[in-house]
Amino acid sequence: MSRAPADVHQLDPRAFREEVHSFEFWFQSVTGYLAGTCFGQHEGIPDEPLEPAERERLVTVLCNYCVGETAALEGASGLIAIAPDRLSKVFLATQVADEGRHLEVLLNRLAQLGVAEPEQEIERRASRSLLQFKRRLLSLVAGRDWEAALLAQNVILEAMEFTVFQHHARGADPRTRDVLQGIVKDERRHIGFGENELGRRIQAAPHIRARLREVKNELDHLVLETFEETLRQLGLAASDRPELGRHYLETVARLGFE
């Protein structure tokens, strides 16, 4: 990479896009917060004992996070083939690595909580709504619908995960918090990529907004229902829950979906 300019905001827009979509940028970024961790946990993080009921709720929540991360892993890898340009393909390759890591660190956390057969446990505890969302996302990818699949994955799913993981991390046990905080740092890139890419596409072809609005209306309640349930499981006060929708609503409002 070239030397940093005196002020990064003086970069040419094209040079900025090249830089932030590069594998090198991703590698140096994740090295900053993952170096020295093992399965997303820093050395010496205490293993705080959980009450049985609390552990049970956490296992259910983590199982559903695994469903979301698996959807994003399969979705992002499929999107590489239909991405319209090199920068998007390289970025999605880094997202695939992120999603694979998320799934792995969450499975490791389940193992630490004593879950012997995580795959079976995920199947048993998975939210029907989230599974339905995953099937629809993958059908959009298989149908080579770049904009709709990106909306479903990097806007609807990632925006809600971004908010829920942050909320959860605040009140979580130390190990779960460490894992979630690392995931949130990755999610910033994913939500930004989704919003900016879709924003550019809609700006260039405003007529696609109507079709995307239908996709949004079909899918967002599935994810919202799942994460509302997650927040209930986490014991978050009802008065704090509207914030879950707020970040998502702000995002879609910027894209012109009122």
Partner: protein, 97 residues
């Protein structure tokens, strides 16, 4: 566009310069870290060289005082933004797709 002469005087004044130091923000490569910091929540106050990214809620920092029309980049979420004046008179960033 007609502008208030007093406002123009302020805008034409030399911009304050800022020496940026690393605040521990670790989500971008080391050479870019000083341009960003974490948002500390409702009690946080933005300096004249800072705006909040509306996409990912990271504070974006510049080496110079920010003014309306300036372009800034949020590297953590890869957004290009333009500084605008909000209804309450403060500066905020708007995404430029």
């Amino acid at each position: 566009m007609m502008r208030d002469p007093l406002e123009r005087k302020v805008d034409d004044a030399p911009r304050q310069r800022f020496l940026l130091e690393d605040t521990g923000f670790d989500e971008v490569p080391p050479k870019y870290r000083r341009f960003y910091r974490r948002w500390r929540g409702a009690g946080d106050v933005l300096a004249p060289n800072e705006v909040l990214c509306p996409v990912c809620k990271v504070v974006i920092r510049s080496t110079r005082e920010l003014r309306e029309g300036d372009r800034v980049y949020c590297m953590p979420c890869m957004s290009r933004l333009v500084v605008v004046r909000a209804a309450d008179g403060t500066l905020e960033a708007r995404v430029a797709y």
